[in-house]
Assembly symmetry: C2
Homo-oligomer: 251 residues x 2
Amino acid sequence: MALSKNTIKYVKSLHQKKFRQKYNNFIVEGDKIVRELLSQTAFEIEGLYALPEWLIENEKNIHLPSTQIHSCSPTDLGRISTLKTPNQVLLIVHIPTESHSTDKINTSLSLYLDDIRDPGNMGTIIRIADWFGISQVFYSSTSVEWTNPKVIQSTMGSFLRVAIQEIELASLHDQSPALPIYGAVLAGSSIHDLSGSHTGIIVIGNESRGISPDNLALLSHRITIPKAPSGGAESLNAAVATGIICASLTR
Amino acid sequence: MALSKNTIKYVKSLHQKKFRQKYNNFIVEGDKIVRELLSQTAFEIEGLYALPEWLIENEKNIHLPSTQIHSCSPTDLGRISTLKTPNQVLLIVHIPTESHSTDKINTSLSLYLDDIRDPGNMGTIIRIADWFGISQVFYSSTSVEWTNPKVIQSTMGSFLRVAIQEIELASLHDQSPALPIYGAVLAGSSIHDLSGSHTGIIVIGNESRGISPDNLALLSHRITIPKAPSGGAESLNAAVATGIICASLTR
């Protein structure tokens, strides 16, 4: 059955931040992650849009009211998809109310994303957090928001397991003034001297400008990923730097 | 002056691998990297396409025959650009003849990219190599080729300083049978036990399938980036894994 013009218009509107905020919903695409979402209860589902063959194959795992299940042609799926090459299935998911607690910041490592603009970087960083058992990723209001389809796509499902919350770094610092705050800068102490730090916030700065002056002032530890004497690159990609810092701190 | 239809057609053809191979040229875009290319001699330049104001501003640094300099309108630059938001300048550069020596593999660390398909990953990995002073990046014929515009863009200029060459891993192994070959697998020894290995080849596998069976058989060291006991992600992004391994091995 063909999707109505209004349905197509509605799903497509969720490609944009403005309408995700208005409707409080976001889009998740792909067989594996959709199956994972259908088997959990933390995220509430609003609608499932899939090719008929996918619906038949996954029938046993779909426990949604029939009004929420939409069988689509490949053409219609292409129309509502955020991907160049659409997958077999698209899910509309409610954005959970931000009730994440920040209490855990005192007993574990967390990440703070200061003005991260590239959705691929944010998604990859959430995936890194998930690998290293870092259960909280905070971000500044100037960063891309985590419900952006490209962020979701590049988390590879890790957004299900990591609490992600927009908050200012100053608020976290006010809440726990004694908590170490690490930030990568050009002339800090080597990350290799910091192994085994199991509490604190790791601040990752903007892709071009690094950590903002306000947040630099909040750092308790200025750290650096040592560059080879013969090395030529001016910097590392933000997600790569995050991976190296996390590997070193959780060592 | 407007660019001719044929010129536009020619530059646009270089967006595709087929025509890059046919004409033996590739595209580089962006003010900073173009200025860097204009001040060196290792890469030969075929043509410069820029907005009039950029040409005026950079006049002193342009030492090209006038037939190679093309002043373009923003519209024409938009037509020939590989970027969604075109920069002020685009350069066509000859692909250097692959005369890179593999002699240095015995005295330094190098990277081998086994079927890396994502251009952003390859570019980011070349940038990582440049940071850690790894002067050679080899890649399989199944990988994306390094002259792809998205690879060039994500190297952030590092392609100028790192020798990049297509070759099979077996050829490198035949040439130096005793050379250590490291590869990240799911159940290898921890990278933290390998610090300070300053020669050898680090193999990075395909984004979904990892290292190919043929190349797995050539590994002398199977290594693993330890995942937290509470970690949920199934894997790390290929470029992130490369960064962590390089930071650990060059420590």
